[in-house]
């Protein structure tokens, strides 16, 4: 994993199919190694503000990745409760707490929570900051984009914690 600073980007959409189109476009950048991606997630926020993961993509541009590794990082930064089902034991609680704390301290929480109004679709991506221009172009159909940042070390720690919890080793 790269130690570079990373962008945590959330793009909001009026139309699900256009969100999917942009999601595919970012994954293609990852697949072509135009950018270095931790993970990309396509989500939908329902009228009751519940977030649903529609599709995921990993650092190699593969779809359908499980919510671990880079994808887990993306999901955890956006909606930590969604990680709960993927981890077990006491470590699960600890890692969720770490994500929640980091979101709050870094200001990501505020940005993420307001970026997607109820009823909208979103693409969330975590990638090395130097890929920002390419990602911006790929998200051509987004109505609104919000970007937060996370340093490489924190990202690495969060991912490691998540992996530990998901392996159930901390139990």
């Amino acid at each position: 994993m790269s130690d570079k600073h990373k962008d945590v980007l959330i793009a909001a959409y009026l139309f699900e199919d256009l969100a999917k189109q942009d999601f595919d476009a970012v994954l293609k950048l990852a697949e072509q190694k135009t950018i270095t991606v931790e993970g990309v997630v396509l989500v939908q926020k329902d009228a009751d503000s519940q977030v649903h993961v529609v599709e995921t993509g990993d650092h190699l541009g593969r779809k359908g990745a499980t919510i671990g590794g880079g994808v887990g990082l993306v999901v955890g930064l956006f909606a930590p409760p969604l990680l709960a089902a993927t981890a077990a034991g006491a470590a699960a609680g600890a890692v969720l707490g770490k994500f929640a704390k980091h979101r709050l301290q870094s200001g990501i929480a505020e940005k993420m929570d307001t970026a997607l109004p109820p009823g909208s679709g979103g693409v969330i991506a975590v990638y090395d900051t130097d890929g920002a221009d390419a990602v911006d172009k790929a998200l051509a159909n987004a109505i609104k984009k919000s970007v937060a940042h996370i340093d490489g070390t924190s990202a690495k720690e969060l991912k490691a914690g998540l992996a530990e919890a998901q392996a159930g080793m901390g139990g």
């Binding site: 909001a12 009026l14 139309f15 256009l18 109004p117 109820p118 009823g119 909208s120 051509a140 159909n141 109505i143 609104k144």
Partner: protein, 799 residues
Amino acid sequence: MSDQAIDRTELPIRRPPFQGVVERTLDGSQPDWNYVAPLSPPEGAPNILLILTDDAGFGNPATFGGPIRTPALDRLAAGGLMYNGFHVTAMCSPTRAALMTGRNHHAVGFGMVSEFAGPFPGYSAMLPKDCQPFVKTLQGNGYSTACFGKWHLTPDHMQGPGGPFDRWPNGLGFDYFWGFLGGESGQFDPVIIENNTAIGVPEQEDFYFPDAMADKTIKWLHSVRAHDTAKPWFTYFSTGCSHAPHQVLAEWADKYKGAFDQGWDKLREETFERQKRLGVIPADAQLTPRPEEMPAWDSLNENQKRVYARQMEVYAGYSENTDWNIGRVLDAIEEMGDLENTLVILVWGDNGASMEGTLTGTFNEWTMINGLPLTDEQQLQLVLKWGGLEAWGTEMMAPHYSAAWAWAGDCPFQWGKQVASHLGGTRNPMVVHWPQRITGQGGLRSQFTHVTDVGPTILEAAGVPQPARIDGVEQQPMHGTSFAYSFADPSAPERHGQQYFEILGNRGMYKDGWWLSWMMPRTPWKVDPETIKAFAPGVWDPASDPAELYYLPDDFSQAKDLADQHPEKVRELQELFWREAEKYHVLPLLGGLTTFFGMTPPLPTQTQFTYYGDVENVASGMIPKIFNHSYTISAELEIPDGGAEGVIVAEADHLGGFSLFVQDGKLKHTYSFVGVFEYKQESATPLPTGNVSVRMEFAADGPKPATGGQVTLYVNDEPAGGGRMEHTVPVRFTGYAGMDIGRDNGMPVDRSYADKSPFAFTGTVKKVVFDINPHPSGEHEQELHEHAHQALAGHAITA
């Protein structure tokens, strides 16, 4: 008394002479039962149903080739006559004033809308007593009369319970009124006026104003018939549709899903072809091109196309619903056996389709009216914020479609609403239906006709003269000409051979087929200071605006400008325009209202307003003027043991408004900046019980338009919380929603109490006091006053 014996030239009609015999007792006395009979119209006088829809174009209804299904209009056209040469004034109140009085709009003080009463005879918004509506004549001759829906002829500042009521519908000839007084209304949360009383916002969950309006009309007709089987009635069915906010249930809008995906350019071409096929425009008519200000559909991105297409789907569904309701009223009349002798005149649109949604269309028309231009990107974000595209057309938004859809709806003409110089603003479909009198059903009439002709036509149909005096006041003759002559003869020479047009500096002069178009160089939806500056006194020379010339008998759509070929005709019509303008009080030309710069009304003297706890539905134009400067709202409350919750005072809703309320024991203040930003403050601790005074102080950064400032909340004179508001509304929160004490009627300002609406205060609000006079200097006060006046003018342009 026989018809002939009644002198109907003066109203009220004198009591009939007693024809019996009176002795000292009944012994020998001869009764005269006619003496107690009610006055009747002449024998055979028809019932009259006058229908007017709002903000709609010549090319909107399917009956005239448009994409919107209008089976009721089809039915009337098939059984009556279609008119494709009928004209309105290009704006709401002016058309309505001309319609009701039969006089030119400036001549009766309505060069502008009722929201803006200006200090010149042509712009006073005060219908003069010597130009009474023809309805008063019908009423005075024995008709039952009623008006349902939009009125828009009562000056904005006279819409309160204190009156005066002589310019409300009941004061102008209507026995009964149910509707709204202003220029627009929410369809789900209107503030209903019944006769001279605001009865407020209906609380039933499935309320929809256009449906309720038809219900009320039918009920009234049934009641009149139940009372008297033969008495003629006059009904003015004046729909709020299709004015913004474009609101309709999804089931209506969804009928058009995908119907506009081809875009406005293609839609206009399709409409044009259908118009030719139907024969409602001549075979040699030309389609006028898109103005360069509007984007080509093909140049839009995918998001824009989808959002814009939905805008038109909602507009179409909204309009079709209104046609459906018209059909319900017609069915009721038919069921009563009255349709045969009912004269129905239906005008589809009081002006051309409205371009006031700006190029992007808007989730909330009040953003533009408050001078807040939003980019396409911002509009899309706000659509996202308020529920996405599914919410477009619901009560969550106050939407208006893109100006380019209006242009498409005005097919085949140029421009639209406000543009009195061109047919897109002034020519609207009219259908006349009267089975007992009209033969040759399904025919087309193309004589030049004008909205001032409707009154004279109705009086001729009723067989009553234009009265010389009403209530002792000598009446000016009507300016319009009856078009009843055209009922029997499609080729009858037209009798309304000359007509001026003027709205806000856009001028037109029609004479014997020639039409001078003298448009001021202002895009209709632009009211920003930079644009308006060009029309300031001493800057704008209306005589130097470029003139266009059309000959309508050969050029139905104004596609061939002949000004260069016929400069003498241009001069002749220009001179005629100025003469007519002088004669009918069109002068001074407002030029986007810039001539009022420096002519602000006297400063108001009342700066403190006290509302006791049971005041509701204060008209939106009559709330204290809290805009652009510091102000204070204070309230005296009684809070019972155990606490209280609810609204202390609230104006309008989440798309613009404020609410001071108690929730979770705390004093809270929410201010919505036209749905773009919300500012919320709350007290740190719960309110005490017993007698409690609370106060919200807004300390403006400075007395300036849309000023930011600091809010401080006080409880029993101690600071209790606060926060900053970066922007405040500079002009007005809403066009219809009222202010309430002790509750928040209609849509809530703060959505957090939406499930408890109207969130009535559970303690007691003894009184609420507004203080709007903390201005730092007289100079600032004058500046703000001038700004407010100009801003109001901006609002009036779009009403």
